[in-house]
Amino acid sequence: MHAIYAWLIGPFVEFDFLRRALVGALALSLSGAPVGVFLMLRRMSLTGDAMAHAILPGAAIGYLLYGLSLPAMTFGGLAAGFVVALLAGAVARLTQLREDASMAAFYLLSLALGVTIVSLRGSNVDLLHVLFGSVLALDDATLILLGAVAVITLFSLAALWRPLVVECVDPGFLRSVSRAGAPTHLIFLVLLVLNLVAGFHALGTLLAVGVIVLPAVSARFWARQVTGMAGVAIIVAALSGWLGLALSYHHGLPAGPAIILVAGGIYVLSLLLGRVGGLVWRALPGRHLEA
């Protein structure tokens, strides 16, 4: 009992910076995980990754002009994310290029531009900060930003739940009963960018998408319905944050990657043991039922 306390709870009681990191990780879990569930169901998981890279040059320009300033990097990241999302959508609509292809083109461009801009002025330490975040150095302003993004995301998802689900299942039906389809898609992309920018402060651009996508794909192996999936995803994300921080504290690992590694571990376990279609259950199916 004492050992468990010392391992899982003690560090957070003792150190303020770990408590802040935990609060930040929990806020990210609450909003990012449900967004990830819809990303997965809309077959846009890799789009999430692309968008994560796309916000880099915006954040980098903010950094170039104002240094490591929270508002400058946040607004820069948001602006770059929206520009790439809109451009990719427009190119897909106006040319024969599919949205995934044009998204790939823009995000590669974006990533190269971002790294160049950061290198122009900063050191490698700054580059590492932007790419991998600094979950152990969250100040008040960043925590408020993470909390605000979580609140906005949860309320928006609650309001948009029905059109989001219907658009995934039967877009033709949604088109025939309502014009909510296009605005829903757009607002969803905005929520994605918001969560990536929030996650970027804690985990950096490369790993921010990890707490969004990994819990969602794990949840797919535990729940049969969307609501349950969102719930499981939130729990998986929160657990990853907690265990990841503890792991990083005890073994001197970098905190951001530790969180993502735990999330990845939970994914592998779910893939094997998940009650809904996990590999072990597939290998050992029970006797078939009578009807």
Binding site: L41, A159, R162, P163, V165, V166, C168, V169, D170, P171, G172, F173, R175, S176, V177, S178, A180, A223, R224, Q225, V226, M229
Partner: protein, 264 residues
């Protein structure tokens, strides 16, 4: 061929008074993609409360006609007038582009039919449960409410989509080949539902391939082969001569076709 005057599909001769306005009127409508017409210069009235089959070879423009009636594509030319507001039109596309790997239950799929009543944000709750249960019972899916849609057979899925149509409570119902790949029992059950809609005064338009079924169950028929070949009572329309004419229609659009100069 001269542009025909508007032909009319009516359920019964109007008695005395003014004829009611058509549920759908196609006024010299040309429909198509990339300027190539799929349906050419169509003049047609669909009377309210009529039950009409749309028949014609593949590529005749049946689906295009239904999409245009549903307001999903714009006519290249001409005007479509609808006698019912857009929100009272229900459209069931051919082999609905449904993502059946999506984790959704039959109950939730059917409940989508309440969209018109509950909209984007309205609550669908216990209040609506009896109506949803009644729709499921009408299509014979009672007991499968909790099934994920991915676990349904083709026939069961089509029954669920008909239950959704039931809840949509539409005045004009457009069905695109609703009976493809279904067994006889399912077709009989769903045809009975269509007749129930007719008896309730709803207008039904269905694209179909099975001529036996059309002769047995659909009083009105519209024979289409990119042009309107004939329309009216089914036994008058489905003659060998008319069907042969429909078959002769060429399917491929001529890539060098000149702009149409036919009088509007």
């Amino acid at each position: 061929m001269n542009a025909p005057a508007a032909q009319s599909v009516s359920p019964a001769p109007q008695q005395g008074g003014r004829p009611s306005p058509p549920a759908l009127r196609f006024d010299n409508v040309t429909l198509g993609y990339d300027r190539h017409p799929a349906v050419h210069h169509l003049h047609l009235d669909i009377a309210p409360g009529s039950l009409t089959a749309i028949v014609g070879p593949n590529g005749a423009g049946k689906s295009t006609l239904l999409k245009a009636a549903a307001g999903l594509i714009r006519p290249l030319d001409g005007v479509i007038q609808r006698g019912v507001p857009a929100r009272r039109i229900a459209y069931l596309p051919q082999a609905a582009a449904l993502d059946n790997s999506f984790p959704l239950t039959v109950y939730d799929l059917v409940a989508m039919g309440l969209w018109e009543r509950c909209g984007l944000f309205g609550r669908i709750g216990q209040r609506h449960a009896p109506r949803i249960a009644e729709a499921l019972r009408a299509v014979g899916l009672t007991g499968l409410e909790r099934r994920p849609i991915g676990a349904l057979s083709g026939g069961q899925l089509q029954r669920a989509l008909f239950a959704r149509l039931l809840l949509q409570d539409a005045a004009l119902i457009l069905l695109d080949e609703p009976f493809n790949a279904l067994d006889a029992a399912t077709v009989a059950d769903l045809t009975a539902l269509i007749h129930r809609w007719r008896d309730e005064g709803r207008t039904v338009l269905a694209a179909l391939h099975d001529l036996e079924l059309v002769r047995a169950s659909f009083p009105q028929t519209l024979l289409l082969a990119r042009e309107l070949i004939a329309c009216g009572p089914t036994d008058v329309v489905l003659t060998d001569a008319n069907l042969a004419r429909a078959r002769r229609m060429s399917e491929a659009p001529d890539p060098h076709a000149a702009p149409c100069v036919r009088a509007a």
